[in-house]
Homo-oligomer: 317 residues x 2
């Protein structure tokens, strides 16, 4: 290899760890995904990440000397840009100095760590469904509802690196309790587990006791009325939150990904309906809602963008 | 005069026209305010603005050759950055080419026109209550509810120059009808005329038939229970909208100005209460709400900032 524009991209979530080597254009040359180890301590988990990274570099035939940098998406919350992480769904890491460890492991090149939903947003904007948009909100609707914000062509960081976190926009002031302690946040209504729990309370009786929103979506596709109502409720909440974000940030595109977005029209139909009812100002009316295009790769592509397109996607130190 | 860092600043609203000459630090050397002429055509209004500008330049002893530029805040909507304006409250101007006219009148220097609420935001951030904040929402709560958004130290424009327009963030999905055509926007509840109208419906009987929210605030200060309830309702709506904006944009400071903010604790008390109930995420909890500091000058100072601090406050052509 004669170029040094390869980037090691890592995506660390509560369910799986993924790593890849990204080429200069964001293409993924090698990719491996493993389940996130359970019942491990902080050091064991770190060594698992280290080993995974070494394997994808080996598979791509890229030596550490050929690396332009390391980009990482990791579940939040985190201290940004310090990259000290305490992922909600990874109890082994509390105030784990992920960025510092990676800097020790890969000295001499930029190492950048950001929130996983922000990496998904950067990936979709750089190489996915949001390509070319000046102002885009990226959303990940899954176990939680997160996101990232591109305004005037650049990733917005905010005061603490959390800009774009749409999950706690209020859509129903006296609505259901949210894990954050408030009421009526869009996340409290539209996150996958809340959608499934609401359906159960309305009488949904899935085959398996541990059925999730994915099973609910399958039932919805078969016409189950409770499933349709559950996705309708979630879609309407998302539409209201998107309408508020569109007016406030003068958005052009909203890119929606994450597990729940796989429900397709069950979710996007009512979402569009409530968005159009609430986004009535002339400048807000034309906002487009598009499904994410990169699927499972979005987080890795965005992590690579923190290094390969730093002018647009990285404002940290 | 030996420097060319003077800026002609103009603020065009439905009630009054103001102009001043701003020195390089944003101080206003001369200032004049006149009522916005009624029953005039587009050309007559333009000549009124021209004459007002000439008078303040004369009063400051600044010749056109000493001008570094012209900055203007004007009521929206407008085509930005073209500066073709159709202010809601100035029927004489519909698609009026304000920026082009000013360029003809002051050739060879930058002429920049932006939304009046955005100029207020820029002014408060540059020289007022938001000084030093990396991420600030500026709000003007008056006949309408408008605003501007500073993120990562710079004014955000958005797709069409409307970023920061918080008035149509949804705070009550099935709430009162808004002038935009939707329901439950914060503006529909918290704009001055809506607050006064709600109080009348609840039995407020002011002395004069044309009493406004200002009179309602005076009655509230004397303990009138309907007035207290009316400002409570408006404050709670503002608090919810601010909570949503804080989570979404990771704000540090929210600066609230405009006529209704003169009600002080009547408004800010319930605003704080509902904001704190809804902004529960760790990164959102510390947001500060501060009253605007520059009063009537904010729009003029911000208009000057479009030229004197263009790197932070102007991204147009």
């Amino acid at each position: 290899m004669t170029t040094d524009r390869f980037v090691l991209a890592i995506d660390i979530g509560g369910t799986k760890l993924a790593a890849a080597v990204a080429g200069p254009g964001g293409g993924l040359l090698a990719r491996e995904t493993v389940p996130t180890p359970r019942a491990v301590d902080a050091g064991q988990l770190w060594r698992g990440v280290e080993a995974l990274a070494a394997r994808v570099l080996g598979a791509a035939g890229v030596g550490a000397a050929e690396l332009a940098g390391v980009g990482v998406g990791c579940g939040g919350p985190m201290d940004w840009p310090a990259g000290v992480v305490s992922p909600l769904n990874i109890p082994a890491w509390r105030s784990f100095p992920l960025r510092a460890r990676l800097r020790d492991r890969y000295p001499g090149v930029p190492v950048r760590v950001h929130n996983d939903a922000i990496c998904v947003t950067a990936g979709e904007h750089w190489r996915g469904a949001g390509r070319g948009a000046g102002c885009m909100l990226g959303m990940v609707v899954s176990t939680g509802v997160g996101g990232g914000l591109i305004l005037d062509g650049r990733l917005v960081e905010g005061r603490s690196g959390n800009a774009g976190h749409i999950g706690h926009v209020v859509v129903e002031p006296d609505g259901p309790a949210c894990t954050c302690g408030a009421r009526g946040c869009v996340e409290a209504i539209a996150r996958g587990p809340a959608v499934a729990a609401w359906a159960r309370r309305q009488g949904w009786r899935p085959g398996q006791p541990d059925a999730t929103a994915r099973d609910l979506a399958a039932d919805g596709a078969r016409g189950d009325p409770v499933a349709l109502a559950a996705f309708g409720r979630a879609g309407r909440a998302l539409g209201i939150a998107i309408a508020s974000a569109t007016s406030l940030c003068d958005l052009e595109v909203v890119c929606v990904g994450g597990g729940l977005s796989q429900a397709g029209p069950l979710l996007f139909g009512p979402l569009e309906e409530s968005l159009r009812a609430h986004a009535r100002l002339e400048f807000a009316r034309d906002v487009k809602v598009v499904p994410a295009a990169l699927g499972q790769d979005a987080g890795l592509v965005g992590a690579a963008a923190l290094v390969l397109a730093a002018g647009r996607y990285w404002a940290g130190d």
